[in-house]
Amino acid sequence: MVNTPPVESLTPQPVMQPHSEPVGADAPVVHPVKAEVRNLSFYYGSFKAVKNVSLPFYEKAVTALIGPSGCGKTTLLRCFNRMHDLYPGNRYEGEIVLYPSRINIVGPAASPIEMRMRVSMVFQKPNPFPKSIFENVAYGLRLRGVGGRSELEARVEQALRGAALWEEVKDRLRDGAYGLSGGQQQRLCIARALAVEPEIVLFDEPTSALDPIATGKIEELIDDLRQRVTILIVTHNMQQASRVSDYTAFMYLGEMIEYDRTAKIFTNPSKSLTEQYISGRFG
């Protein structure tokens, strides 16, 4: 680890300057940095899918990764919980520093299992286990050794409430998760990800398999969650990015083209490529 800036100071210095103006009195909220990507490259075998990307992720804020298909945004997201380690031939270069522990998520010293315990993920398609609703939410807790009946029940309820699903399922916790609708299944997966009290939650196009009403509910939920946890969201839907995120990074062909406050990106981007993309001229 080289010259890590002290995170306690409220103006962390990410490698790229994210703000068009310095964070000051006019900034609505000042977020400390939760994670910082530094010169990260990622290879699938010999193919370089993420090219020397650097950007910060602020605590208790929503950062959206946007860009056309194949731009490396999902690849970048999946670096955060070391999902790439499941498949042979993948390689990381650079760092993702997680604060305050300052551990390099993609470094050799970090255990993939530990990183997945600290960074939860919600996938593109709802993927509940073919078990009961209760067991789905409790599973992550069981993996962490939470065994007591009453504690499990309390934390499952808390997670389901947090995912705005409790009222709909409280009378059928023992029923199979596949009896739920697609949108409910996705909120169940969010509850499963929240139950373990992660430091970061990764959302990989969480609404792309859902109808507009279910999508709306998930977006509301993400809006609520930003009070409690750091969120990274990959999305194809630019309206979604502008609605739910505080910061937005635009990626293209594995490179990070522009990173800024979401309002700035969508109203006055500084790069012409970004402007072309958000105005729908390609992608």
Partner: protein
Amino acid sequence: MRPIDHTIRRGQLQDLIFRVLGVSLLLLCLGTLGVLIFNLAHDGLSRLDLKFFSSFASRHADEAGIKAAWVGTALIMLVTALTAIPLGLAAGIYLEEYARKNWFTGLIEINIANLAGVPSIIYGLMALGLLVYKLNFGRSILSGGVTLAFLILPIVIVATREALRSIPQSMREAAYALGATRWQVIRHHLLPYSAGGISTGVIIALGRAIGETAPLITIGALTYIAFLPPAPFSMMDSGHRAGAFSWLMTDFTVLPIQMFNWVSMPGEDFQANAAAAGLVLMLATLGINAVAIGVRYRMRRRIKW
């Protein structure tokens, strides 16, 4: 007539031809099986009574029974299952979930596929050399059971792999993303979700093993036997007390061998015995397959993606 009518008519005719062809071929297969069972029942049903199950083989056809044979078959199947299931499961899980895909695992894969097609008598020859002589298991239930386990091992491995492969990758990722280790993913998710497919494969493999004759004759299974393997800790004729596993090391015969023996005897009466034994074997196999279908049905209903 418009040309489009012609095209539609032709399509419908092809449809009809295929349907008729399919149904007649299906009936042909089922009919053959039906005739076979009917024939066995016609010849052997009169011999099927409790005494047939509780008598040893005999020179007198009407006193002969299948006691040694069905006990032998049951014990052999027990040994086969206890050997083939853990080995096959472990190999299948390893190949599917742990092994890296490289030329070596590719080679193993091709070999397993080939092993499934090796004639069973070759397994018998291998078992004769390896189990009976080299490992000194003798012509015992242990040798017989392990021989059949070798025989069905490829089927169990392939069934395990297929069942694991049918689980969507998203299930694995969901579990890994929560911090599960490889073994926890297998233990908590993959095995429960694939249990239906695996047990179907295992049961069908056992159904194949139950009818095998050649490899058991090769390792020297007896055709005439008038005693049962000693029950654990029972008193034997020699005055010694049997050990817990003495039965493993006893000589044995099995249903198909008993049947073969009777078929080769002169006289109508023994043919009736053979038919009766064949009927028992057939019903056992059908029963095993019915269990497989039942298991698959139950598991399918419980788990859907």
